[in-house]
Symmetry: C2
Subunit: 456 residues, 2 copies
């Protein structure tokens, strides 16, 4: 047998007990907030038919999908010419008919279409599962990672968008973040701007340039816009948009002014206003809500609101994002169902909490108390206590007899167990057990009953 | 775009909100018991290197593993001769270097070896993750299914075995099962029986024949044993074993008698006795513990205790099993680490609970209350109440304005929401909202504050 030290595939990770405890803290917190807002969990298979996934993520996505080799004698049905010519791309379709999930959105759309007759709409679902991408692994980018999504399908109400803001605020506050910004934009505002200057394909160029205002100033932005093919008349019309400033209300007013000739642009302003109205009487705990017209993520599929979340406490990319897409299930032939959703970037949130030291100390404490025996007599003596502890729902362990006390203490320390109970011959004779607080080092002699009461 | 109704790959499943709630009930219950006994969660990647998995599950396992096609231009490095000859088996190694996890035990062994310097032994870990097998799908057998394992590595103490019995008893009782049998055997007893009759390769034949005693009687068993190559002298020696009966204590006494010439057999009896001693003062909640020497599962790898759990309430295969394997990590070059573990069969447990109607009614109640508004005025009016409910940690929803009340009521019913609050013009005028119990149909007029208090 090989005795080479085994390893995991590139870009994948093992999660130790300490890491799992922290990850569960994040996932459990987010899930509890999703549920509080009426979202329900579903799960879909790790593998989907290639016909479900292919073409949904662009050429790059098709390439980065992990394909599953057909079982059995797969070469019997392989495309002979493709094999002959070593045409990997072409051969794939003949030797693979399944791939690993690339995101949670396409499988969700597939789910909705497949189960449309069992679903009560609006359907509010959340999903926390791994996805796989054959990306080049690098710091913070993995080939297997968890996505954490909530989407509602079948409801055009902007109440959903307002609730997404509340969900972000509540979940991230619960995780301990104290200063973060939820940026909101609307695809229709971007369309309106393009309409006003009659340049429909230049939205991204425009937002990239405007986004640099802080760094390069108005003249810098104008220079860049001229380089990117905008003319002086465009720039004159765009000035109020470039210089957009002040409160969200002030920004909206300026935008309405700049977009007065664009019905779609004004509609975008109305939608943002409605979301703000819903939130008017709702005190956000830690989030700053900011209208940011340079926010252009997911431009290819979002049709209404666009969200992005950034922490202001450490330097880190976005820790969440989402938006509304008016035709979620159209790709599977079910037209006219509007969807809106958000996602939490769990890996980045993990790094943020780690850097800010925000994981509660209790996160990594699973076992509450370890019973340390000096010999098998002690083991037998302490078994009823162990059972009583467990009957009282106290996570507890007894180290199997035979090990040195020092080793057992180390075990408690390494496992972050806050209390130990020592059972030696003295203890058995007097019935007074040594109860030790592992952090302070303090110890006292107590009866089993007293220890039980104390730990309760 | 295709408008063919999409589907999931053969042998895989979507889980709806109702199904997820039930599955989570099972997993959460089992996990909480694992934790209570000091087990900690880990997770390993869905894919492992083929070098990690190949050869660990026999030829059949190698065949049933889902292999991942290499990314990029995989044919460039493919085995030309194997492609030419359409030798699928041989070609695989050259176009695939990863496969999906086939069980949780081999990845766990890999984990222990890889992380041996970070681990505190004895290492008690649990793991609840999906595994994949390209088996022919059939009722109750899936290509993607969850395993639910707890293993301890680095501790030879039989206290672990005793605790496994307690874990099964506590977890299955918590799930609502009232009558189930935990069968226990020991590989060394089986070896002892073989030693006594000097037939080391016939243990399986023997246990299969003995297992039929109830059905075919002593003469039937003897006839079958003769057919399977045992002789009269063997059978004379085996009689006490075949006719083993009575309490566990009585069975052990008979076994000691029959195995008196076999040191290994007697050692097996001692080990079982030690487990029983640990459990002597421990009142099991619902489990019957039964020494069953016909239990021969995992004969190829178990070296000590063997477990199997069966419910006596419905006809169903085993719902759990496990045992001790003395050289868990040897396959990865780390010798001398003993392991013992158990597994819960989550899919079968699901079917059992469903059949016995044991899922608590609350399992499928996620949202506690739905606010039903007649129009946008009501929506605005009720928003503060919605927030107050959520601030009090009550899962609550407001149906977006504009839908008929009947539709909103249906939504509440379909989502199994126990209470609704109706907000019409009367309600807004008087401040007395209609609070409806959806199950009884009862409704009363209450202030928002009273409703809040009631739901708390």
């Amino acid at each position: 047998m090989a005795s080479i030290k085994p390893s995991v595939p590139k870009g994948t990770r093992d999660f130790s007990p300490a890491e799992m405890a922290k990850r569960n803290f994040i996932f459990d917190t987010i899930k509890s907030v999703f549920k509080k807002y009426g979202y329900q969990q579903i799960e879909t298979p790790s593998m989907e038919n290639l016909s479900t996934l292919t073409g949904k993520y662009g050429d790059e996505g098709d390439k980065l999908m992990f394909k599953i080799l057909n079982s059995g004698d797969y070469l019997a049905k392989a495309d002979a010419a493709a094999l002959e010519n070593r045409n990997s791309n072409k051969a794939t379709a003949s030797i693979s008919e399944k791939a690993l999930r690339y995101d949670l959105t396409v499988p969700f759309a597939r789910y909705v279409v497949q189960h449309q007759n069992e679903i009560t709409f609006p359907f509010k679902r959340f999903q926390v599962q791994p996805v796989w991408r054959a990306d080049r692994p690098q710091k913070g980018r993995y080939r297997e990672f968890f996505q954490c999504d909530a989407d509602v399908v079948g409801s055009p109400s902007l109440l959903n968008e307002a609730e997404f803001v509340m969900i972000y605020d509540e979940a991230l506050s619960k995780l301990g973040l104290q200063d973060f910004t939820i940026k909101i934009n609307n695809r229709k505002i971007l369309s309106g701007i393009a309409q006003v200057i009659n340049k429909h394909d230049s939205i991204v160029d425009l937002t990239i340039a405007i986004d640099k205002l802080d760094k390069i100033g108005l003249n810098g932005v104008i220079k860049e816009l001229l380089e990117r093919g905008f003319n002086d008349a465009d720039i004159e019309k765009l000035k109020p948009v470039i210089l957009l400033d002040g409160s969200n209300t002030e920004k909206l007013a300026s935008l309405r002014d700049a977009l007065q000739t664009s019905p779609i642009g004004l509609q975008g302003c109305d939608e943002i206003q409605t979301v703000f109205d819903y939130l008017a009487n709702c005190k956000l705990q830690s989030a700053n809500l900011e209208l940011d017209i340079t926010l252009a993520r997911g431009l290819n599929y979002y049709t209404g609101a666009i969200f992005e979340v950034k922490t202001n406490e450490v330097a880190m990319g976005s820790i969440g994002g989402g938006g509304r897409y008016d035709d979620l299930t159209g790709m599977f032939g079910l037209k006219g169902l509007t969807g809106a959703g958000i996602s939490f970037g769990a890996d980045r949130i993990y790094d943020v909490l780690e850097e800010l030291n925000l994981f509660p100390q209790s996160t990594d404490q699973s076992t509450q108390v370890l019973i340390i025996c000096f010999d098998t007599d002690g083991e037998r003596y302490a078994l009823p206590l162990l059972q009583n502890l467990r009957n009282s729902n106290i996570n507890s362990e007894m180290y199997p007899a035979g090990a040195k006390v020092k080793k057992q203490m180390e075990y408690a320390n390494n496992k972050n167990i806050p209390y130990t109970i020592l059972v030696g011959s003295d203890e058995m004779q007097t019935g007074l057990l040594t109860f030790k607080n592992m952090q302070s080092g303090e110890q006292e002699k107590l009866t089993a009953e007293d220890i039980l009461q104390k730990l309760k």
